[in-house]
Structure formats: C-alpha cells, structure tokens
Symmetry: C2
Subunit: 131 residues, 2 copies
C-alpha cells in the first residue's frame, strides 16, 4: 500500500493505532481555524482523531485528488447539522511514508465557524477525559 492508500484505508475504517503509526514524531498540523502550526505527534494525533469525530460520519466523502512529488491534496465534502462543509486535506509524507505535514482548509465561512466551535468542544472533552 502507498501512504495515500493507507490514509484512505484509515478513513474508510478509522483506527487510532494505525493513525498514530502513520504520523512522524515531528509531524506538523495546521488547522483551518488557527494560524499557529501545531508541532509533534501527540497534538497532531489529538486533532486528527478529533476531526474523525467532528467531520467523519456517513455523509463524509472525498471528491477529488491532486498529487505532487511528496504529497497529495484530497477534497472532501460532508453535511453537519444541515451545513455543507467543503474542504481539503493537504498531506505530505517523508521517504518512509510517514506523515510529516497535515493541513486542513474549509469553506464556506459558515462551515469554518461551525468547525471552530465543534473542534473546540471536542478537544475540551478529550482534555477533560484525560484529566
């Protein structure tokens, strides 16, 4: 399996152990909401596992795919509380197939605001569960 195929397999059947193994220890995550990059596997894992719950679900589909030498962009669309969320996952891999950079963008404005609110709630819940 290519790294991209491995990612699609994870999306088809989310597996947090597999997700953790896919991430480089120094992976950087950039959210659709916040400017500052999040650095490291622990925080990136938290965001991506949280995104599974926020954006995942029966309505989630990947609609397009673009590639370059070391990465891919996947366009997704989903429907949450009647609001269409259209966005992209921009993923870069190292030579060993580990994810070194993961960036998400979302449109339209209404969806960015909703993702902002839902990600905040989800991360707070996860933090509380750990505390």
């Amino acid at each position: 399996m290519t790294p991209l195929q491995r990612w699609h397999a994870h999306i088809a059947a989310p597996d947090h152990g597999a997700l953790w193994d896919m991430l480089h220890p120094d992976v950087v995550f950039e959210s659709p909401v916040v400017h500052t990059p999040q650095r490291g596997r622990e925080i990136t894992f938290k965001y991506l596992a949280s995104a599974d719950k926020v954006l995942g679900g029966p309505a989630f589909v990947y609609r397009g795919e673009w590639t370059n030498a070391d990465g891919a962009i996947l366009e997704f669309e989903t429907l949450i509380d009647g609001i269409t969320v259209n966005g992209i996952d921009m993923i870069r891999w190292d030579d060993e197939g580990r994810i070194v950079h993961f960036k998400v963008m979302v449109r339209p404005l209404k969806a960015v605001n909703m993702v902002h609110r839902m990600m905040g709630e989800m991360l707070a819940t996860m933090a509380a569960g750990k505390g």
Copy 2:
C-alpha cells in the same frame, strides 16, 4: 504554454483581457466565504479581478502545486494588514485549456473573515463604478 503556465503568467502580470479569454463562458466560481456557486464568465471574472486587488500585491506568493488529470491546486500565502492569508486556488480546465471551474479556500478563520469583508467592499465598489 500550458493552461497552468498561462495562469502563472497572468498572476505575474495581471491582464484583465487575458483573464477574460482564459474563462469558459459557463465557468463556475466558488468562493471561500459563500456556499452557493457563482455561474458564468461575467460574475467569475468579477470575482477573480476583485481577488487580484484584494489578495494580490508584493507579498503574494504561490508556495506549492499539486495536479491531476484536468486541473491543479496552487497554494498561496500573502500578508494583508498584518494578517497572514494562506489559501488554495483549485482550477479545472477543459480540453481546450479554458478554465471551467475555479474554487478558493482560505485559512485561518481570521483571514476568512478579512477576505469576506474586503471582497464585499471591492465588489460593492465595482458595482458602483458600473452603475
């Protein structure tokens, strides 16, 4: 020149005549802010010419490029009023090299809000100039 090279030439030296000629009469534009697609060359031209003014300028750079069979995604970054705007242009061409679909996404939230405000002002100014 490929359609993608033609686009880069336009960005390097914006030319509204060339931009108009690049657009298919039935081109669809999707903004980072609004859900509803804008249909047709006239409104798409207005948005893209307005985007030139809002996002263009000395700080604007393309940072990455991804392709598929009939299109490309270009990642850009710019700085406006001290706010970093990071986004993508998702462009699809027909067999004759005319742009048939143009979608823009922007992050982070602060940048989406600023683009929202500035695009609104710019489109209002253009409308007033025409009226």
